[in-house]
């Protein structure tokens, strides 16, 4: 086994996902098959090979630090499931 039920539960917690018992069982089997497959990368010796995280030579794209018009507050808030006209509102953070 590449991944256990407990590990799936741990990863789900990190990813802020709540899985049902049935989902954990199914995902464990599927993730195990996928991780067993990707283990084929171990066949390759990559000592000294650099990583590619970006395919083009890119430098940081900076612009002048000047004030420009930005999204008006009401439009930024418009999609909020709960908001009070000034901020997004969320359930209590400290129990």
């Amino acid at each position: 086994m590449k991944i256990t039920r407990e590990e799936v539960l741990h990863v789900a917690k990190l990813a802020r996902l709540e899985l049902t018992g049935e989902e954990v069982d199914r995902m464990t089997g599927q993730l195990d098959a996928i991780l067993s497959y990707v283990a084929k990368l171990e066949e390759l010796d990559t000592t000294g090979v650099s990583v590619t995280t970006h395919t083009q030579q890119v430098v940081n794209a900076f612009r002048e630090d000047e004030v420009r018009p930005s999204l008006p507050r009401e439009r930024a808030l418009a999609n909020g499931p709960e908001q009070n006209g000034e901020t997004f509102v969320v359930p209590r953070v400290i129990g």
Partner: protein
């Protein structure tokens, strides 16, 4: 016809609505339509045309994948979590199409967050293949391919992270182009895997593809990965003949599991390109067998990070029963995301998590370098490469839905272009005995889209496939 004044954009747009009314109940490509907005844009295009010359796309009805932000319609990404989301700004490609004078008909169905190869992961509806109802249109830009193939729009935009433009284009018999990474702005494209995602057109023929590319390509200061590189007039590439062009055939792309009819159609296509004057050479991409493994670590890793923003706070679905913040996150995400998205978030989180990062994400990023180097070596020996797009033609809806790994493996021929950042294209080259379309993939070095268009144009002239229409019944 628009140019000659033979038809107005309003009349053209109305004819497309009539077509949509007739076939959409069977095809199910559209998630949203904007009849009033389209009529207004068509009227504007007509008055613009009367007052002087305007571009070739002025007044042409188009549609876009529902992963591109629009202020005029919701942007759902095919997900419950964004069911009612209306973006506060337009994607740069949407603005560019509007500046070219196109008429925006609506938003097209897709796999949830562009994760999938069949569009079956769409939370709202599954588009059907116009060539055979009950068969998949491909994915993740399945709606974009089906709508073009069914004449429900003249052209569309899709997005391609691992083949999501080229694969549905192939399965639906349309032309599809994934441009070089950085060629087209990603501003307003809802991110799946940021180092792989690219927007591109799906069209009825190669000329339309060149026209759409002219409209959408170019540097955008709003996308920091957009590249400031001159954009040619892509229609200049539509020339007869391929004398002096070296076409590489990658041995590894004609391997095990390739459907014999696909093999035959692509080999016929290669013979046509040779007839057109191209020189055919064998090339090798030795790390092809590792592409699926690399992709299904890197793409989920980036996705798990990108999709962290869907937390029920600023937009999207929120579970209202939770009485703490963390519980609200957990429940909103768990109810809002579908199975495939959850699966990829889990793989990605695992591959990036402490203790596994080196073995999975870092290892995959190193092998990505080897894959990129394979392409650099191959393109020293040829100007472009041709191959199949997919190992098989379209299959029945539901047939591969229960085995995620089997479906991932069917992406083997398209993933590497995204990993290397090179442009790729799908062009129809034939049909199988059931009448299902078969596409040919063309790949070239960075920023060489014009050589792809030139070869595709020559194939199209000879293959006799362009202009063939499905009978939708």
């Amino acid at each position: 016809m628009l140019d000659a004044g033979e038809v107005s954009s309003v009349a053209l747009t109305e004819s497309v609505w009539a077509r949509i009314d007739a076939v959409e109940p069977k095809i199910r490509a559209y998630l949203a339509m904007d009849r009033e907005g389209a009529l207004r844009q068509a009227e504007q295009a007509d008055s613009k045309r009367k007052s002087g010359p305007c571009g070739p796309l002025c007044g042409v009805p188009v549609a876009i994948k529902d992963v591109l932000c629009t202020t005029s319609m919701p942007t759902t990404c095919g997900s419950r979590i964004l069911e009612h989301f209306v973006a506060p700004y337009d994607a740069t490609v949407v603005t560019r199409l509007s500046q070219a004078g196109t008429v925006l008909l609506g938003k097209l169905a897709m796999d949830e967050f562009a994760m999938g190869s069949t569009s079956e992961n769409c939370a709202f509806q599954v588009p059907h293949n116009p060539w055979k109802l009950g068969y998949v249109a491909g994915g993740s830009s399945g709606g974009s391919a089906a709508a073009v193939a069914a004449d429900e729009c003249f052209a569309s935009l899709g997005s391609d992270t691992g083949g999501s433009i080229r694969q549905p284009a192939s399965l639906c018999g349309t032309v599809g182009m994934k441009p070089t990474y950085g060629r087209v702005s990603r501003y307003g494209l809802v991110a799946f895997a940021s180092s792989l995602d690219q927007v591109g057109p799906l069209t009825k023929d190669v000329r339309d593809c060149a026209l759409m590319m002219n409209a959408i390509c170019g540097h955008d200061p709003l996308d920091s990965t957009s590249i400031d590189c001159p954009v040619p007039d892509f229609t200049a590439a539509l020339q007869e003949g391929l004398k002096g062009v070296r076409i590489g055939i990658p041995t590894e792309y004609f391997g095990q599991g390739l459907d014999p009819e696909v093999n035959r159609a692509v080999r016929n296509g290669i013979a046509m390109l040779k007839e057109a004057g191209a020189e055919i050479v064998e090339v090798t991409l030795p790390h092809t067998d590792y592409c699926v493994a690399v992709y299904y670590l890197i793409a989920p890793a980036e996705a798990s990070s990108n999709l962290a923003r869907f937390d029920g706070v600023r937009y999207g679905f929120r579970d209202r029963s939770a009485d703490s913040l963390v519980e609200m996150y957990n429940r909103s995400r768990s109810q809002g995301f579908g199975d495939e998205v959850k699966r990829r978030i889990l793989i990605g989180t695992y591959a990036l998590s402490s203790g596994y990062y080196d073995a999975f994400y870092k290892k995959a990023s190193q092998v990505r370098t080897l894959i990129k180097e394979d392409f650099a070596r191959a393109f020293a020996a040829c100007d472009l490469m041709v191959s199949p797009v997919t190992p098989t033609p379209a299959w029945k809806i539901g047939d591969k839905a229960d085995d995620p790994l089997a479906l991932y493996l069917s992406d083997i021929l398209t993933l590497s272009a995204n990993l290397a950042g090179i442009p790729g294209m799908s062009v129809p080259c034939g049909f199988n005995s059931e009448g299902l379309p078969i596409g040919m993939q063309l790949q070239a070095a960075h920023f060489q889209e014009d050589i792809l268009l030139r070869a595709a144009y020559n194939l199209e002239q000879r293959a006799g496939v362009a202009g063939k229409k499905p009978v939708i019944a």
